[in-house]
Amino acid sequence: MLGELGFVLLAGVKFGALYALAALGLVVVHKATKTVNFAHGAFAMLGAFASFLIVVKWQWAYWAAYLLVPPAIGLVAAALEFVVLRRLRQADMFTVVIATIFLGIALAEAFRLTYNTELLAVPALFTGPPLVVEGLFITRDTAWVIAGALATAVACIILFRYGRFGRGMRAMAANIRGAQLCGYSIDGVYMLAWFLGGALAGLTGVFIAPVTGVSVDLAISIITAGFVAGVIGGFDSPQGAIVGGLLLGIAESLAAAYVSSAMKNCVSFLLLFVVLMWRPEGLFAERAGRSV
């Protein structure tokens, strides 16, 4: 039954692409600042919410959501970095991580207080009849989510690899004192990293809003999936985030279909465990070669 397996794989790739996008933003911030931003899910939730406002409430054109939401959430993230986390720069890692966790909870609860509802539905960008390929129904929305998320991811790889900003972040990650001595300011790189991470979270939100709706739970599910995907990929490179996200999505989908539908959440942690056993540094950690 190719059709059946096709459905399962397609669903896996679709969610995997979204996980990859979520992981990408986490990795960008981590790479530059060595901080795992646990507020990332809440940023994505805000992005999805902003997309609801633009598309449903204000009835603007859909492209406006794709255009406006990422920079808006990026600014929110950069502002929070400036206001809250900059003061914690000298604090230990644990404090910073806890701060991001509570920042995420505060954002999620602020949303809940202003919009006390279980779920806000956002229509899909494309609503035409599904494409049929070899008996497989592919909705236009599914095709768009997969293509859009992966295109963004590829753009990130290029920016990271060859862009000035990407080089600065990688330099910062490799040696923070060395990076300063090359003219990269910590404040500048951190703020840019948070801006880019926030923008990616916002974009994740816009892509995911029609797929899952907007709810407070979104914050948790995005950070969980993004974190697991990130760790699988090595939490170091955009390539890792993409492969980690896709692997996670496909594994979840296959396990739910062919093992047990209650296995879905369990499989992500199983996958995490297996990868960490086999390669503790993750699949795509950038390696320095011979150490001296």
Binding site: R164, R167, G168, R170, A171, A174, N175, R177, G178, A179, Q180, L181, C182, G183, Y184, S185, I186, D187, G188, E286, R287, A288, G289, R290, S291, V292
Partner: protein
Amino acid sequence: MTALRVSGLTVTYGPVVAVNELSFAIESGETLVLLGPNGAGKTSAVEAIAGLLPKRRGAVDFLGKDISRLNASTIVRRGLALVPQWRELFRTFTVEETLVAATTAAVGRAPTPLAAVYELFPVLQERRQQKAGSLSGGEQQMLAIARALVTNPRLLLLDEPSAGLSSGITRTLIAAIRRIRQSGVAILLVEQNMEIARAVGERCCMLAAGRLAWSGSMQEAMERNEAERVYFGAHRHDDTG
């Protein structure tokens, strides 16, 4: 013109005073050697000047402008580059990527062309595509110096470039430092290795226990055996210069 004027510089780590009221100056194009035993505060002094360490007190003027409140990235953009003692390379970057990354710091002036630093250190050109982490110790030191040179500095701080390197490599470094000096860049060299100090230094300052113990011309220092006296503590109660 005075390239660098340090006055009353004090650096502390908690209650420990690493650098105590240090004052000296470097003229444009001059090479000054900072000598002193381990723990004398040499590294603390240069890192504080370069903005990597916070200063407790004191003024640092670079090309006539106060830089004592600026951070490291801004200072290097002004044209004061540091080659730190532990090199602080990006192990995951290739040689060429490292040098390209440093061009960021050349703000308002052209970065030194990569070809020029490759000419100074031909081995780096051979290793262009190699990861910095896979280079030998000597090559890493060359890369650290090359990285600082790419920023096209007016003043170069070199913190013990010969530490842990063979005498063959050391001679290469001496030749390179001489050529850098010839190009008009002022140099502040921190050294314990008298061979290098003698080969490139014009004037020298001796540090002991965070204080300036003696300063004068390199030649005078050699003649008077100042180094030994500093190292063996003869200057501790003798603050005459």
